[in-house]
Symmetry: C2
Subunit: 493 residues, 2 copies
Amino acid sequence: MHDRIRHEALHARVMSASEAAALIKDGMVVGMSGFTRAGEAMAVPLALAERAKHDPLKITLMTGASLGHDLDKILAEAKVTARRMPFQSDAGLRRAINAGEVMFIDQHLSETVEQLRRGQIPPVDVAVIEAASITSDGGIIPTTSIGNSASFAILAKQVIIEINTAQPLSFEGLHDVYIPSYFPNRMPIPVVTCDSRIGTPWIPIDPAKIAAIVITEKHDSSAAIRPPDDETRAIAGHLIRFFESEMAAGRLTRRLAPLQAGIGTIANAVLHGLIDSPFEDLRMYSEVLQDSTFDLMDAGKLSFASGSSITLSAEKNAEVMPHFDRYKPRLILRPQEISNHPEVVRRLGLIAINTALEFDIYGNVNSTHVMGTQMMNGIGGSGDFARNAMLSVFVTKSIAKGGAISSVVPMVSHVDHTEHDVDILVTEQGLADLRGLAPRERAVKIIGNCAHPDWRESLADYYRRALAFGGHTPHILEEALSWHVRLRKTGRM
Amino acid sequence: MHDRIRHEALHARVMSASEAAALIKDGMVVGMSGFTRAGEAMAVPLALAERAKHDPLKITLMTGASLGHDLDKILAEAKVTARRMPFQSDAGLRRAINAGEVMFIDQHLSETVEQLRRGQIPPVDVAVIEAASITSDGGIIPTTSIGNSASFAILAKQVIIEINTAQPLSFEGLHDVYIPSYFPNRMPIPVVTCDSRIGTPWIPIDPAKIAAIVITEKHDSSAAIRPPDDETRAIAGHLIRFFESEMAAGRLTRRLAPLQAGIGTIANAVLHGLIDSPFEDLRMYSEVLQDSTFDLMDAGKLSFASGSSITLSAEKNAEVMPHFDRYKPRLILRPQEISNHPEVVRRLGLIAINTALEFDIYGNVNSTHVMGTQMMNGIGGSGDFARNAMLSVFVTKSIAKGGAISSVVPMVSHVDHTEHDVDILVTEQGLADLRGLAPRERAVKIIGNCAHPDWRESLADYYRRALAFGGHTPHILEEALSWHVRLRKTGRM
């Protein structure tokens, strides 16, 4: 224990999870660690859900991003979560959100702590942070994610630490904690390359604020990534051929540009596709580091990766963690404010690859709302990256539900990324390069290159008839959302 | 002339506008100065339009933003403009865009030169830049705007300068030209306060590239700003009371935060409202400096203003220009890439005030498309500012066309600013503070506070019935755009 809690006075704060959870009162705002199912505090929220069975309470729950171990489901079913921000990906919580039982505030992941610091959203009462260890000065060494943990701990009135003994002490030195300056002026964030180290390897807080320490031994939930299939391989192929043509045109080099890839099967498959490509000495500046990050490193393709979390499959985790020291010099985990910061994303000139639920013939992208109404997960970091990237790419399969749904529609039912922020669209059918095109030109490319053959003629027909109404962005407003209405009524668009 | 062209060798390049215009060939990309009707080159484009009468040609025309002197109308009617970016506000060009005759690429104003430098859009063949003078080293001193002039001149193969002798030599020192570094790495943009000077007061180019100099004597077109009326005064009043409550809550000080205000009557009226407010020692970090900037300086309220252009009414221009030296120490004009840069906007923590065409009950904003199809002007800088501001405010009157149109609708017909990017909505009816609210909470506030009483019950009825369909963002897709359809068919929503 002395190597896990090196600040001697803090040993007296070790207690049970239920004792620690007693610090959380009804109505409080609780900021918990956890980003893409990595590094979440678990024992205290489970104790809270247990307590709620006989002592009902409601909290506002803020995290980095999604939680593992069904925590969001358990807390929602225990009716503990009244308000939730800034992201989630749990089926149980999703049901409660869409039923209007939980108020969900879906935010750009870089913005939550900015609003907290400015007092624009209610302050964090208690922070609950998973850590690998505490330094002799009381600095907190996070585990597999940082997310919003640093700012939650710094801003909270009280801090609960979950020391997770299942995570190696060698995580120390992996993280780089930097908080933007505020007075007298904010200064530039000094990240100028993916491997810029600008902060401390621990979260610096006054040890007096650490009100409780709970000892746990837990493993992260495994990533739920499906293996590449024919469609995702085709998407990767189109994108890699596009990168090759960009290199031929002198706009990219063999090193490409720092890569960001959203969480999920398709983005992971695209990165995997780079293993057998002419590109090398690649770098990542992303939010979540998935299996593909380590596969690319193993293949000698990836020189450095910066993220806010590491989320691996069970198999990859078993491969990587015993040899973590081999990867560590080529990794940094940063607060999500910094991994996703518009300033840094624009400066580094990223290639940002994110997944769309659907996009329309003019290039607007829906990332969040099924049928324009039902929340899926949230916008996450996709907006932080897409707006400021050098190349903003959105990928999706052209059809869903066995062909009943076209992912290319006349008008998206909800807009998360406007036409102004989308450069490249890719489906297994092909790629549309929208740079420098007017809406009417985009429509021809998107329908011709990205739509599934089963839906292409219907889209072309809509577009042709819309042209009769004229306009910069021709639409038939009576029909623009009719594909979604038909899907709801008949099960097919 | 020697004080206007201090580089002796360049005197030999002086020629007529039609001679200079002959450098522009069919199919070329031409980058012209001009931003919000300020500082546009005029003689050469007029000569080009004249030439096109007997010698048809088509060009891609890039500018900073909108042009004065009906230039966009004249060039469109002469069928010279085949492609146009990144912004316009001319009725004649608008007609051609909406008829599909001119391909218009509607971009965030900070992004055009970024795409140019990266070769993502076709390169500028000829730049045509209005200047007050040329230094002995060949540096170009712009006039009332910079816009994209610096990068156009630096990147173009050939440069044509229009020396405008009607603008005072004392403009020298007003401008601050900074181009982001690229190799080996991009470094932070060192603006840390509104008055940071980080570049040179001239556009630095190789004088050998200056292929022609045309002498002109022209005045900028006057701003077409309507005076405040009861509604715009009410909007200003709601916003100032909100600022007062933010100050009471400790989130703002008497200095507020650096202000950005979009072009137009409402934003100008809001700034005017600050003259009779408790706020003082204000600063602006905006794109266009309008009458209100100088009125606030005259009232002793505004300490410094940074922008990319100065666009004044005829009366204000007559007042300000004879005493320009009085204002100059408190002014900087920057390239629009810097005035609108996401990095700087986020760092400075702006209050961004922009005008909406319409917004919906969940806080999505349409800034560009009438009825979802007809382009008005373009997104301009509103996205650059709204996404990254500390407070993102959108203003509009609650009704239009004598009450036939509600500016608050069930679903906007085009999205330029998503729910994720909008903090505060204001109409003459009231203000909705959306920070930290879920969509269902926003709907209640927006309908209750911002909608016109004539439309409030219809909106509430839509929302109530949408709730029966459920979802995070309840909608009835069959009806979501029906208000717009009804307007088209009946002349009333």
